[in-house]
């Protein structure tokens, strides 16, 4: 790549050279550089970029919700109940308590992101921990940990999440815990598979000869190499997480009213579906668009980070 810069076919900034260099001067530069090259590949995938822009929009929406929402998402106005789409001051109509659906959707983006972010942190970390320990330790530790993983995989996820919520009680935090508890096993499997291929590598033997203990080897030398396959899986899983959270919310087991969680909003609007269809339809569209965006981005990320599966 760097010879292009020398011939000067295109004027490049110093930043670009620094990022694309084949002789990075520090580990950090190499890392950022490879990240940048991945980004360049991802940028060529229009569907992935479409998904990414929806998600960026969603994040901005969530951050600036107080500025963007036209009304207070909790403010009831019984005089303005069930207004149709395009009503004055209620672009997406109002719900049965006269609350502005658009404002509730905007605030709901915060809840959705909160759930997704936490599950996407907890589940892979648990899985990474279990998987790398099992893979590195081997023997009976491996057998026990992987058997436990299999048991969790054997449960249908939603039903297990339901049972956990039943035990923990309804609520958004418990929904997050329940979804995480059902989501970690695939990560453990991936992390274990990666560990098994890395474990016997020469550089691990070298580190061990230098006196590094298992903890240091796992955290400093195995974890970094597992990250990229976990990230792909997380991105592909996010849509499922959103759908699971919305499902729990819909059943009344996740976020509780009057919280503007999208699944709970569908549940509230369900009673009016035949006469006032927009109340339940709008939050459903929001869920659909966001999970579609995650799926599109996930597909693109897989092509970048995991080229061996590309095109499948």
């Amino acid at each position: 790549m760097s010879q292009f810069d020398v011939t000067g076919t295109r004027a490049r900034s110093g930043w670009h050279d620094w990022l694309m260099t084949e002789t990075p001067r520090s580990r950090r530069q190499a890392r950022i550089g490879s990240f940048y090259q991945g980004w360049l590949t991802l940028r060529r995938n229009p569907m992935a970029m479409f998904g990414l822009s929806i998600l960026v929009f969603l994040v901005l929406l969530a951050i600036f919700a107080p500025l963007l929402a036209p009304k207070d998402p909790y403010a009831q106005d019984l005089g303005a109940r069930l207004l149709p789409l395009g009503s004055e001051g209620y672009p997406l109509g109002s719900d049965s308590l006269g609350r502005d659906i658009l404002s509730r959707l905007i605030y709901g983006a915060r809840i959705t992101l909160y759930i997704v972010a936490l599950v996407a942190l907890i589940a892979p970390i648990v899985g990474l921990f279990v998987g790398t320990v099992a893979g590195y330790a081997g023997g009976w530790v491996d057998t026990i940990l992987m058997r436990i993983t299999d048991i969790f995989l054997a449960f249908p996820r939603l039903v297990l999440a339901l049972a956990f919520v039943a035990a923990l009680g309804a609520g958004i935090e418990n929904a997050i815990i329940a979804i995480s508890l059902t989501a970690w096993p695939p990560y453990a499997r991936i992390a274990r598979a990666e560990t098994l291929t890395i474990r016997k590598a020469d550089y691990i033997a070298a580190v061990r000869l230098q006196g590094a203990g298992p903890l240091r080897i796992i955290t400093k030398h195995i974890w970094p190499l597992c990250i990229s396959s976990l990230i792909v899986r997380v991105t592909l899983d996010m849509a499922g997480i959103i759908l699971a959270a919305a499902g729990l919310g819909f059943l009344g087991l996740g976020a509780q009213p009057p919280s503007p969680e999208w699944g709970a909003m569908i549940s509230e609007g369900r009673r009016f579906i035949l006469d006032h269809w927009w109340v339940a339809t709008m939050p459903g569209l929001a869920i659909f668009i966001v999970s579609l965006a995650f799926n599109l981005l996930g597909d693109g990320m897989r092509d970048v980070l995991d080229p061996k599966d590309a095109g499948k």
Binding site: I151, A166, I266, A280, K312
Partner: protein
């Protein structure tokens, strides 16, 4: 477990014995998974914030009554003994009494499960009938608009909240167009008209020869089954496509083409024949997925299946019913997984 095949064969020269050993190992694995599954539900039942004794004797029970019930339920035993007792109960098909209607949970589940089975089966049939040809077509016409359409159809299926799609479907096809029956399994006038033999109303009404009920039931099931079918279609068509692509790029396909076989023969007689076993595995998995997916669908369509049962029980804190339902769904799930695994091993010699 780390033995190589040679070592094993050296110790057990008889192939029959080796096969038996393998079956034994598989059974052991299933048993282990099931005990683990029961352990999880046992723990969930123990950490419940609801006091099971109060749930039985009521809040105004005297201390003595409470103590008697406490001992009668075996709660004074060590946890380990309680767990063994729990496994024993489940093995005898005893999930305890429902706190809501004071009937054995197992009876309730036996009553509601066929409804779910009926829905998931019809959904899988729809998913296979459309998904497999779609996947094959997408692979054959790779890169064309057909492939792209199939991709988008699957992507939408993966991204759509199933309960919302159910609501919108109900709104359009029942509320506006009036093409299908509304929620429930049959119209109110047809409830309990045909005797329940299998618990599946389509089968029962057909057995009874009562085609009015059959048609009515069909009009009620067609929408939820199609929606579930769409979900399994999304998964099945993607998997079919990728299996087919793998076959179509192999050398024997080139040979078949060079021999001058028609394209149809190449695709169906050669390539498709080789993915059948893999497809059965996928269908079994998606069937298991539909049993789960039906939880939310059943709520939308007021379908009296196991999903509705678990959720209703959950909202009224009927813990025996929740755990019983979870165990049953979990066991079916495990069985389907094992079944697809075994099928793959026995039908495909390459898996050895």
């Amino acid at each position: 477990m780390t033995d190589t095949t040679e070592q094993r064969e050296a110790r057990h020269p008889s192939r029959l014995l080796a096969a038996l050993r393998k079956i034994g190992a598989t059974l052991g694995q299933i048993a282990f998974t099931m005990v683990g599954l029961l352990f999880v539900t046992f723990v969930i039942g123990r950490v419940m914030p609801i006091d099971p004794v109060i749930a039985v004797v009521g809040e105004r029970a005297t201390q003595a009554q409470y103590q008697a019930a406490y001992e009668a339920m075996g709660l004074d035993q060590p946890l380990f003994v309680q767990f063994i007792q729990y496994i024993w109960d489940v093995m005898r098909g005893d999930f305890g009494m429902s706190l809501l209607n004071a009937r054995p949970v197992a009876e309730d589940i036996a009553r509601v499960f066929p409804a779910t089975l009926e829905l998931a089966t019809l959904g899988t049939i729809i998913g296979v009938a459309i998904g497999v040809p779609l996947g094959v077509l997408a692979a054959v016409k790779r890169g064309t608009w057909i492939d792209q359409t199939a991709r988008v159809v699957a992507l939408i299926g993966y991204s759509m909240p199933i309960f919302w799609l159910g609501l919108v479907g109900l709104l359009i096809f029942y509320g506006i167009l009036g093409w299908v029956g509304g929620p429930g399994r049959v119209g109110i006038f047809y409830v309990d008209v045909v005797p329940s033999v299998t618990g599946m109303i389509l089968v029962d009404s057909a057995l009874d020869g009562n085609w009015t009920v059959f048609r009515n039931a069909l009009s009620h099931i067609v929408l939820p089954a199609s929606l579930l079918g769409y979900y399994s279609l999304a998964y099945i068509s993607r998997m079919t496509r990728s299996f087919m692509l793998e076959q179509l790029s192999s050398e024997y396909i080139i040979t078949a083409r060079v021999k001058g076989l028609s394209e149809r023969a190449v695709i169906w007689r050669h390539a498709f024949r080789n993915i059948r076993v893999q497809l059965i595995t996928v269908v079994a998995l998606s069937y298991a997925g539909l049993l789960e997916g039906s939880v939310l669908t059943e709520i939308i369509f007021a379908w009296p299946g196991i999903g509705s049962y678990i959720t209703t029980a959950l909202l009224s804190a009927d813990m025996n019913a929740v755990l019983g339902g979870t165990v049953v769904v979990g066991l079916v799930f495990v069985c389907l997984n094992v079944f697809s695994d075994l099928l793959y091993k026995f039908l495909d010699p390459r898996a050895e």
